[in-house]
Subunit: 280 residues, 2 copies
Amino acid sequence: MSQFDNAAVSAHLSHVRIVMVNTTLPANIGSALRAMKTMGLSRLVLVAPKTYPHPDIDALAAGASDLIAQIEIVETLEQAIQDCHLVFGTSARSRTIPWPLLDARPAAEKSMQAVVQQQQGIAVVFGREDRGLTNEELALANYHVTIPVNTDYGVLNVAQAIQVICYEMRMATLQLIEKTESTEQQMPVTDTESMQWDEPLVTHAQMEQFYPHIEKMLQDIEFLDPKNPRLLPLRLRRLFGRIQLDRMEYHLLRGIFSRVQALTHGTWKKSTDQEDQSDA
Amino acid sequence: MSQFDNAAVSAHLSHVRIVMVNTTLPANIGSALRAMKTMGLSRLVLVAPKTYPHPDIDALAAGASDLIAQIEIVETLEQAIQDCHLVFGTSARSRTIPWPLLDARPAAEKSMQAVVQQQQGIAVVFGREDRGLTNEELALANYHVTIPVNTDYGVLNVAQAIQVICYEMRMATLQLIEKTESTEQQMPVTDTESMQWDEPLVTHAQMEQFYPHIEKMLQDIEFLDPKNPRLLPLRLRRLFGRIQLDRMEYHLLRGIFSRVQALTHGTWKKSTDQEDQSDA
């Protein structure tokens, strides 16, 4: 994802608040801020924190001190979420009565769709370190959200859970923006392997000159028998077809083929035959 | 995702190793183990850790002590990845020359497809806390992998980065299993991206014999100047690193290199010089 739309991503993510209920360890608040800032979120609401303020918050939030200044402190979960449209309660499992339950990824997709399309306010609520959210608190949520973990272990701490949720919120935002842009521009390249390449990739037409060249070179060194090529040409196509050569690589390889051909035709000779064995 | 297939998920994830290079803080090793275990990964390889063992590792890895017992310690990154098929180097940005770069999500999808379909060995390599991986270390990777973060801040520490990567590995595994199950119930589909390969893919260790061979051959035909190789060796690594050669292709290419070398050394001569021009 390019840098230019970082501000747009952060603007969308400013509609998402992270709510921490009755947090005991200030270090977890600091880690949460850092996790948030890394992913572009900015609003943290603390519901009746046990210890606040505390130097551990500043220590763990290294570099995210601007977010510390914006922290909102409230007394009840109700106050923290009252102006939100969509509230997610984090829960290891559903309790009492089944609740609409989403994994982190679809929850983030749903959230950011609501933000991008309707500027809705989103809250993701995290519970106490030792026992999470109460049934009453979970009942205030539209959805419960869970992170699919190793069920034989499954002890993601609150800071780790916030990290994953914030990551998914960012990913969902990036995907929505990409999707919007690609719809607008009809079809720019949406390659999953989007690499910032230094050279343009070669076209199919160029590759159709490449294969005859490598085959001719292999004939010249009698590695390929034109009367009985077997699967060799096909294997070469499969091999080089899955690389997607860039222009420089293409010319590099064709240069090598030409050198080998010149060697076999005697039109090019080594300058330094005596060095042959020394560095073998 | 339901609980019943947790063991299957962990079995797939046992093919993925996390490699930490020259880690300074034992707490980061402990946090990494916890992040891994939460997501079902089990193999941690430490390359020359600065401090090991240390009580902080056990403290931070709370509940993941079985993984501590399985930690492998090696001296070099080469040793850590030699039997792997697909190596990812984590990097905030690409250096020197651009390398195939994947975001965490497609990287995890590519990895777990390779595991589920071909039992490939995967390594994700994380660098030092202060300065990441060196260019030389990054050049050993098939792909570089990056986590899309807030570009105005972007200081994910190594434990957080491992958390996100492990989470994506688990998500990719769950999705593949889900897809397989739903496909099995419907019809056998041939996925274009994932073909049943006829030959096993070569390991990192085999490729470390491949690169010296192609370089020596290029020296023999004076295409590569050993005193001034410029970016050529790096470009070759990048090019062949992203193909993932299978065993037959590997021997095919090395056979071609050897033939060219024999030609330059005069130990092999063409049988049919007179045909040279006729089919040019």
